[in-house]
Symmetry: C2
Subunit: 652 residues, 2 copies
Amino acid sequence: MDLRTLYNKAILGENLYQQVKQARSELYSKYPDSTPFVGKMFSMNQKEGFIKLAKNFKNLAAIMKGKDQQLIQNMHLVTEIGVLFLHFNAFLSTIQMLGTPEQVKYWENLALNFQVLGAYAQTEMGHGSDVQGLLSRADYDLETDSFILNSQDPKSGKYWPGVLGINCTHCVFQAQTFVKGQYIGVQTFVVPIRDKNNQMKQYPGVEAGDIGPKFGFQYTDNGYLYLKNYRIPRENLLMRYCQVSKDGSFKIAGKKAIKLGYGSMLNLRVILVASFCFGALSSTHLAYHNRELAKKYCEETYHLQKKQIGIRDIYFKEDFARMTSYLMSSLKLKEMYARYQKAIQQDDPNILSILAEIHILSAGFKACSSWAQLQTVRQNLIYNDPIGHLNWSGQPQRLGDSIPAPTYEGDNHVLLQQTGKYLLKLFMVIQKAKKSKESLSDKEKFMLGGELSFFVDCAFQRKAVDVLHNLNMNDFESVMKALEMTLFLYIQDVAQSIYSEIKTGEKPIHKLLNEQYQDRIVNYSKFFIHVMNVRFCRSYLLQNSFESKTEKTLQTLLHIYLLSMVDLYKVLMFTYQLSNASKLAPIANLKYQLYTQINDKFLIDSFENPIKEFQNSNSVDVFEKESQNIEAYLTETFTELANEQQKQTPRL
Amino acid sequence: MDLRTLYNKAILGENLYQQVKQARSELYSKYPDSTPFVGKMFSMNQKEGFIKLAKNFKNLAAIMKGKDQQLIQNMHLVTEIGVLFLHFNAFLSTIQMLGTPEQVKYWENLALNFQVLGAYAQTEMGHGSDVQGLLSRADYDLETDSFILNSQDPKSGKYWPGVLGINCTHCVFQAQTFVKGQYIGVQTFVVPIRDKNNQMKQYPGVEAGDIGPKFGFQYTDNGYLYLKNYRIPRENLLMRYCQVSKDGSFKIAGKKAIKLGYGSMLNLRVILVASFCFGALSSTHLAYHNRELAKKYCEETYHLQKKQIGIRDIYFKEDFARMTSYLMSSLKLKEMYARYQKAIQQDDPNILSILAEIHILSAGFKACSSWAQLQTVRQNLIYNDPIGHLNWSGQPQRLGDSIPAPTYEGDNHVLLQQTGKYLLKLFMVIQKAKKSKESLSDKEKFMLGGELSFFVDCAFQRKAVDVLHNLNMNDFESVMKALEMTLFLYIQDVAQSIYSEIKTGEKPIHKLLNEQYQDRIVNYSKFFIHVMNVRFCRSYLLQNSFESKTEKTLQTLLHIYLLSMVDLYKVLMFTYQLSNASKLAPIANLKYQLYTQINDKFLIDSFENPIKEFQNSNSVDVFEKESQNIEAYLTETFTELANEQQKQTPRL
Ligand SMILES: Cc1cc2nc3c(=O)[nH]c(=O)nc-3n(C[C@H](O)[C@H](O)[C@H](O)COP(=O)(O)OP(=O)(O)OC[C@H]3O[C@@H](n4cnc5c(N)ncnc54)[C@H](O)[C@@H]3O)c2cc1C
Ligand SMILES: Cc1cc2nc3c(=O)[nH]c(=O)nc-3n(C[C@H](O)[C@H](O)[C@H](O)COP(=O)(O)OP(=O)(O)OC[C@H]3O[C@@H](n4cnc5c(N)ncnc54)[C@H](O)[C@@H]3O)c2cc1C
């Protein structure tokens, strides 16, 4: 595999790249007005943007009709239409996961042919992370064989869902559900919102609209939705795990089935990890090209014609190191997800344990990679891209897309708390195992044996003194071992404090976990994900074969990433006596050496950036254009003016 | 002094607050359409924004006519018009500094009466930080008694100056200057750009325009400017330090005079430090109020009704701790600046040394406080403000204002390099002093005796072992001493490597400083500013008397800030054996204790936030409004609809 193949595979999935490229050029040749938003962000107001979005969407749908299903489901990759991402990866995928085979077939047909456009309406004004607290309500009405949906007060209004504001015809909708007065839990419905055949008129009983201009996804409509005694047919309840019959009898699947059903939702987080890597790398790619462009018009300052390495170059290389690592990990997460799906088919007895593990990993990786994307883009906008503040550099739009990522699809802190709570459990299990390994349940054994088994090694085998003794910054494995051991001891510390507070019984557990210890739990969970990131990459490198320059580059990038982790966590390494000043001393020079081994142009050329193509295809390359204008202007227009120049210009 | 007084004093200067408040309400009552931009950022495109800006400016100018000069010069504080900030603090102040008394009088009269609107045009397409490399050129033409200005190629075009794009009538303009073919250095001119009496038509020979939509200051025009054989009267050369006579004879002041002249420019950076604090705190203030508002509409989650402290609360308290510290330091910088001006008047023999010190401090403080502002606003937008992503929360606009701050008025890295180079010199002087104190020059003695004298103490008195021995996280002074000592040893380390590389003579010095060691120099300079920040605050607290609750609060905030510095630099403290795990252990609990001693509401209520007033006065408080609408809607409109509700809604 070469680097280009790796990037395309991770971002678009195997083989999709060529198809996406073709579809894109088809779109632009047939509909030249389908220009994307890059570089236009602040030249349009929200309304103008919405209109443009709707046009782009129509054109794209026309191109896509009848094409391969896999391509269609990745249509958002063809152009920057986030709307479609939600339609396929939130709306349709929820139906695919919670619907009966018949329901799936019915809605797939409509969704893939763009006869409906769907939103995912879960978050309410009063409830984001706390899904169990939702207030939207659905009551089954025997008489009319329909569900009556209600949002009873402002808190229960849906608030935030993308596409809900003006564009969608339908949404999937979560509500507390009652049949004959009996509560049957939070269920999911497909709810018609607007009539596509009648100028997208809202159905009576629906009150929906856009929540207002925002920073990030400016031209995507995010909506609110209030329903009052709104009737939908019984069959619009997604019935894979919860069947309600015409006579009001109902059957609800076991907890395990439901958990597994929701499990497929976490695929979205895995997809997001790759998409954040793409977002960050495309920003860095733009920055690099804008620097090349700027060379023509700017004096070659130190950093444009350098032999040495300064801050901008360090940022550049560290961006690639960080984001390429997340990208390789996203491929490992995809493999895990595939294994999980296979395990379902094979009725694996450990299936819930497998689910738990991939859940806490994908949650944690979503959080850390969205932060990494934001960091990368911010630095590009301010420092690395010489025209980064300007719209047509493409960076402001990248920033707009990165800013909400720590919030949507799960607030990062809340996600990392979930990762952290799993790690707390793991520590209890390790304590138990220390006393007697025999007493462990299968679930507990699985926890100790899966991807996190290095903790067991830390607990039972590794000795801090040996790890310290062997530590050598040039030796990847030894650094890795020291970081793992540090992480282990850090979590152990926090876990012990928490458990001893729990024992006193003075404070409720949820207060301890969600408030008093929240920051520490989030902190060690971040550290954990960084360690997993290195582990995943290293194993991806070992398990795949690469063209030699690519392999060397990937190893160097990973080493840089590893050392930046040491920088980040060296204080903990000191604290737990897993490092000291003399062990750390060589880092600065070693990093410097590693930087020089990276060929920037190789990284850049291996990354195919559709956003850069958009820029070119639309000639928003104003820098070049404007400079040309100015040159022309100087040579032509002014020669005349100069001649008839008035001798005296007024002082005022 | 109480906390409110401190804030108002630092942000607006003594006594100005009431006047600004009055002017603002006068503006809104006379011109209700002068609504500010808060909350409107993404509802207007750039053109709409420009038009609104021009209107607001006109109204404001009408209000201000004939008012007190100090108030007029702070007109940008009355409403969010950055244009005016540049007009007074860059355009007029440059004239005040480089013009003859006669020139100053002439332009002050026009500027204060808004008969001209000025830009500050220094940066060129090809030259930002490197002012000596400018390519714009001015030649004195004996025949017409005028200067002929030229931008000879695209690189020499001015690029970025605010107000230059569409609004200004004049700018101050830097150019390489020649008289009778003789080079007389970079000089500054007042250049007419547009005719105010003729629909702002550009004068022939001028080609100026807006550089395009951008993120940050979206509705401020940033411009480009090309001049071709453009004549301006000789008297438009600012002649305080460089007189050119009609006959082409000229007289240039000595280096010292010129340096002092430019010195007053650094006042702008001092002003910026306070303005970044204001930007950050107003964002935190909005976040707090938006959280209060949200309580009405959202379930009271852990973090809205808390006894304990979670991540959001920590962010909130640390924001206040960090930004209040910078604010107190800005007052110290203002004092230093006043002392500097007095020293000029008194012909102090050390005047250049005094200038050097305040220069490197204001440069470093500008850099670090602009980063701190960005960090605060980003966190508010994403986490602390429940509606932060939405425009009408006010946060996106705050972010837009914060993003370019690390770039304008000097790129932060370049500024910190200047601070860092001064510190390198200081180390050479300390080495010299170690050998023999007698051999020091007056300049060198001054360096060791000024605000940085604690380094001398570190070099000659303090012993690391004692400092470590006395270190106690509860004892402010002991922590301070350990941080200072760590900083000293860190700089010493880097300085020694640099000097030993310089000795070998293998690499040019500028390459070592500007490239190879750039990141390390920037790093220790940041650390230095943080230490100075604590030192300044502590001394401000000692030198002023406060109402007791205020004093307690300020001390607690400063202690929190100090401990966050320990968190940031503890790895260096370990490295130089100025801390260890057991000394650090109490930090987490101590911080927690300090957090609980802070009364959030006291902080919030003491901070008068005009931006919040704008929000109210313009009812952009959509959250409230919209929720009211929804409630009304639910109770009225829907009662009808519900009755005539069709029994069956189509599935599609
Ligand atoms: C651009 C964008 C697009 C979106 N698109 C959609 C969409 O298509 N469909 C949809 O349904 N939603 C969507 N959302 C909503 C999004 O999923 C929610 O904002 C998110 O789940 C967080 O919920 P919240 O905003 O209510 O925050 P909260 O749940 O109130 O969390 C905010 C903070 O409260 C604290 N907190 C919350 N719970 C806990 C806890 N248990 N313990 C400790 N602390 C806690 C944390 O500090 C957290 O940072 C979108 C949001 C954005 C910004
Ligand atoms: C919103 C905004 C408003 C502005 N308003 C004005 C205005 O009103 N008037 C005006 O004249 N200008 C204005 N500017 C321009 C601003 O002052 C310049 O952008 C700034 O001085 C930096 O110059 P530059 O962009 O050319 O970057 P450069 O000077 O090219 O610096 C960019 C990077 O190069 C590296 N670098 C540069 N020099 C060195 C060195 N000596 N050693 C090592 N590394 C180095 C650093 O890493 C630095 O981060 C504005 C800019 C912005 C963004």
